[in-house]
Amino acid sequence: MAASAQGETGADGRVLAPLGRRRSAVVANSPSGGYTLLTALDPDGPLPKAGQFYMLAAEHGWGGGGGRPFLPRAFSVADATAGETGVRLTFVLEDVGPGTHELAGLAEGDGLLLTGPLGRPFSPPRDVNPGAAGAILVGGGIGLAPLALLRRDLAARGFPERSLLGFRDEAHSGGLELFRCSELRLASEDGHAGHRGYVTDLLAVMLEGDDAAATAVVYACGPPAMLEAVRALCEECGVAAELALESPMACGYGACFGCAMPLRGGGYMRLCVDGPVVDAGAIETALVEGAGHR
């Protein structure tokens, strides 16, 4: 039902998910550096927006072996294209535990159960900063995933964008083919690619220009420590920013209240329905116990 590819949108431009979990079929699985690019054909789903995510589980073997994985796992959509037979969804996975390990092992034809697209997507640049003249995408490690689709969308609309991607080392890097044809600068902690150091070093240099604060929009995704550095830097420079955050999730659709993210000024948001993309000003810090995986 490719006709559904337009998708119904809700408040804040999110594309609504069809109710319930559905089956998609893996059409490609390829290693990309230390990561895995997993592509599945979703026959009945809508075209998602950049920043949205899916709850994924393998059709077979979920809950097998040692009994984990049991719950589905959240993954940002890194690429999506609508075709005759459905929407092709690409995810970038880093094997960090039983769930990501199962998914990274799926082969062409295997069933991938998914619920989504879920959550709040990235906002258009001028909604974040009315004076925006260019977007700076900042990714740390596997955090490049949602930025890949965002970059593609911005480029398709002719909006100027630059990407800064940082990696720990060669084993913890990959996915660069999703950034083909983009203005890209790299950083790595071990110096194997680009600037030796943090991706936020590159961002700091970029934000030094006089008119940067007035004309830039920063979109960032990565580990909590990196996001916190981005958040603090943007706050200091007065630059508008959206951050795609992570937290442990059981459901992904607001049912369990497990994905609590502390709000600036007290209380919590549910990251799966109020995020995962949040205004940088909405949080006091991106350093939250249990978020990220390291």
Binding site: E8, A17, L19, P72, A255, C256, Y268, G290, A291
Partner: protein, 298 residues
């Protein structure tokens, strides 16, 4: 065992599958899935997440942990408080095509009374579930761990409402059946069980959860639920909402077979928002009467 229309303490339900409190937020689900949630609502009654007299932010993260075939949560009952719930959430929940059961918790009989009166006054509400897994501020005792405290609480609340009162039992006691008997003696119309089992996951040598400990749910607790429901069924004559680890129609049938009138689906909804719909279809397949009437409806 019937998979067809069911009467549960006077509430007419289209079928015996309801949701477990705190495991399905119909309002948030609508933000994610749109009106399909209302049009294809998978439960025959909607049980709200537990509300308290004053708003609560909930526990610090992390709030979730996964175990083999189970999860541990320490959510900490975040909610808008009675006023926020009654003014904002209840009108939105009235869109649902099923009876509403509101789950409430308080720390004294006086607070409980105020909550029950305020909730009961609303026409949208079909029944009230009392979450008694909390300490009483006066005695320091967990109400639901003591048959006499539970009975006394019910005696205080019973005169305040004509609506059914359902007592949600904790499994963290030696004899849930005695507490159930206390609830019945105090005038409860039904009991529901099991709530989550106390659990303390450790990670890298430290408690993982922000609150230190939490509650275990999911398939791993199913056999515990079956035991406790059958014990309670032997001790009381009021109806039982059974729950704990239900993932399939046969799991639901087992709970009905050991004495439950209706079955609640909790953790399974996290894996698939329509798990309850599938469970009902499977249950119907196991019930010859419902299976034949479902066919004749087509």
């Amino acid at each position: 065992m019937s998979a067809g229309p069911t009467s549960f303490c006077g509430i007419e339900l289209a079928h015996p599958i309801i949701n477990a409190s705190g495991t399905f937020d119909a309002i948030a689900a609508r933000r994610a899935f749109g009106d399909a949630v209302v049009e294809r609502f998978p439960f025959s009654a909607y049980v709200s997440k537990t509300i308290t007299p004053a708003p609560r932010a909930g526990n610090p993260p992390p709030r979730l942990w996964e175990e083999p075939a189970a999860m541990v949560n320490s959510i900490g009952l975040p909610n808008k408080g009675a006023e926020g719930f009654l003014s904002t959430d209840l009108p939105a929940l009235a869109d649902l095509p099923v009876p509403l059961i509101v789950s409430v918790m308080a720390t004294s009989a006086e607070e409980f009374s105020g909550l029950v009166e305020a909730v009961s006054a609303r026409d949208e509400v079909a029944a009230i579930e009392l979450n008694v897994s909390c300490p009483n501020v006066h005695s320091g005792l967990i109400v639901g761990e003591q048959p006499s405290e539970t009975e006394a609480l019910l005696e205080a609340l019973r005169p305040l409402t004509a609506k059914p009162l359902i007592v949600k039992l904790t499994p963290n006691v030696a004899a849930p059946a005695s507490v159930a008997a206390g609830a019945e003696a105090g005038g409860a119309d039904a009991v529901s069980l099991i709530n989550t089992l106390k659990a303390r996951p450790m990670f890298a040598g430290k408690p993982w959860l922000g609150a230190g400990s939490g509650g275990l749910s999911g398939p791993a607790v199913r056999a515990v639920a079956l035991q406790q429901v059958s014990d309670v069924a032997a001790a009381v004559s009021i109806p039982i909402a059974g729950m704990g680890g239900v993932e399939s129609g046969s799991h639901a049938r087992d709970l009905l077979d050991v004495g439950a009138e209706v079955v609640a689906v909790g953790t399974a909804s996290f894996r698939d928002p329509l798990a309850a719909e599938r469970i009902l279809i499977e249950l119907r397949g196991l019930d010859p009467v419902a299976a034949s009437s479902a066919t004749s409806e087509l």
